[in-house]
Amino acid sequence: MSKQIPVVDYLVLGDSPHLVAHECTSCGARFFDRRNACAGCFGTTFKPVSIATDGEVRAFTIVAFAAPGVAVPFVSAVVDCGGTSVRGNIINTEPDPDHVKLSMKVRLVTTSIGTDDDGTEAIGFGFEPIS
């Protein structure tokens, strides 16, 4: 099997792909990026937490123009995954307001983004509607 690499370091691949966040041990705030300190309480200790893979669409837009290499139109959304907000695209459905709705239930799925010159495949993620 060829090598795989996650599109971002907070995506964990394997049998049950999911996202991980840095959770502030003082106030519980969750962040997906590399941290210097907590934006909420200024604490400096974090622990990794797994984020629920099922969620609800809290906001979305259908973007018609993007940088080269990005297929349009695509749906960008904010998904509430068990109380943690996650940013991602809504995929595996038509990108139009008849198929994408506020409060729609979705689940995290992975998707291939491409393969580099060394044969490593980049794996991204998105959310698909739970029918």
Partner: protein
């Protein structure tokens, strides 16, 4: 007038639109010289200069001085996204309040005509095609478009949709109606980049940029500048009665950044900092939302205008849709919003915007707005927000003199 009050003595915006034959310094000079002439003063009277030009690199203030007067005064070149103009104003006000001088000049300028939509650009990776995690998310490819969107029409579309998710009623048609209102208002503004009315059908049927924002629902990129001369109450007392009569009181000047809240690093939260700024501004000014005769708020997209009705407390919490449907924010309504045409038609030369909206309010408070005059206007509010985020609010009051 109390000695420690701050007043706008002179203020001017240029025509917004395409200025192919002028550079940013030309436009800034035009606005600055006109603002000083409006106030009956010159560069010799200025004790401080704050200048902003977001896209033009640094040093606008000194470049401007070299064209309109090098008097050796301190220059602050400021940069605060779409709140840059408000930040320049605020910087001068702080210098005046600190007692460093009694008069100062704030200038904002931008050249954007033909720049396309803000934030739509991506950063392509280098030539070599080998995935290598980089940045704070360890990303192997640009995340814009692959993990949600960074583009401004899309970000603000989600801001409006989130409001709809929370309170309901925020349909594509409603957002388009907000845009229809602003385009209708713009027909009375000769300085607007676009001053044509558009029907709801035209707006909804135009090119979709980021659902539910179509092209006319997005702020118009254009060139333009605006400048203001600020003065202390103590100094104003020494000036002519005519200068005192036309001076506009700055009853509140507030700048905030976004406080931490869950999700604010996922989708920028433009609500928290606007609400905080509004609360502080109303307290400073000793007025409430129901005292406002007009409001110029940051309608960078139609979806943004809706949430700011609520954030500026022009309506009950959650009541923005009803507020719009009641007709209140129309120019003949109870709380006229964006009678200039707003950023969607007047245009949005970024660093100029936060002074141009103050000019619009002053224009009405002085009773000089001609056909678009809001009769009897005594109190107005100007609001801007820049993503990142920064929010500037100024409350202005007609001179009692």
């Amino acid at each position: 007038m109390a000695s420690d009050d701050i007043w706008i003595l002179g203020i001017k915006m240029t025509k917004f639109g395409k200025h192919a034959d002028k550079d940013t310094v030309d436009l800034a000079a035009e606005a600055a010289m006109a603002a000083m002439a409006d106030g009956g003063v010159t560069m010799a009277d200025m004790g401080v200069l704050a200048a902003g030009c977001l896209m033009g690199g640094g040093g606008l203030g000194q470049q401007l001085q070299k064209q309109i007067g090098q008097t050796g005064i301190p220059v602050y070149n400021v940069s605060n996204a779409c709140a840059t103009g408000a930040t320049a104003l605020r910087t001068v006000i702080m210098a005046l309040k600190a007692g460093e001088c009694d008069m100062g000049l704030a200038v904002g300028v931008e050249k954007l005509a033909g720049a396309g939509l803000l934030g739509a650009g991506g950063k392509p990776k280098s030539d070599k095609n080998v995935y290598e995690p980089s940045g704070r998310y360890g990303a192997v490819v640009p995340t814009d478009g692959r993990i949600g969107t960074d583009n401004m029409p899309g970000v603000f579309a989600q801001v409006g949709m989130e409001y709809g998710h929370k309170y309901g009623g925020a349909t594509f048609e409603l957002f388009a109606k907000i845009s229809e209102k602003n385009h209708m208002h713009s027909t009375l503004n000769p300085l607007a980049a676009y001053s044509k009315a558009m029907s709801l059908e035209q707006i909804m049927g135009d090119m979709m940029i980021a659902y539910p924002n179509t092209r006319p629902m997005c702020s118009a990129n254009c060139d333009g500048a605006a400048a203001a001369v600020l003065v202390t109450g103590a100094k104003l007392k020494t000036l002519s009665l005519e200068q005192q009569r036309r001076a506009v009181k700055v009853s509140a000047s507030v700048l905030t950044s976004d406080p931490y809240e869950e999700a604010c690093q996922i989708l920028p939260n433009v609500n928290t900092l606007t609400r905080r700024a509004a609360k502080q501004a109303y307290e400073q000014a000793g007025v409430g939302p129901s005292d406002l005769n007009l409001v110029e708020l940051h309608d960078c997209f139609a979806t943004a205008e809706l949430v700011h009705y609520d954030n500026l407390m022009l309506c009950e919490e959650g009541g923005a849709v009803d507020f719009f449907n009641s007709g209140a924010p129309f120019r003949d309504g109870a709380r006229p919003v964006n009678v200039s045409g707003g950023l969607q038609s007047k245009g949005h030369p970024i660093a100029a915007t936060g002074i141009a909206n103050v000019w619009e309010v002053c224009h009405h408070l002085r009773g000089e707005a001609g056909p678009r005059q809001i009769e009897g206007a005594k109190v107005g509010l100007a609001h801007v927000i820049g993503l990142g985020s920064a929010c500037g609010i100024h409350i202005l009051e007609k001179s009692a003199a």
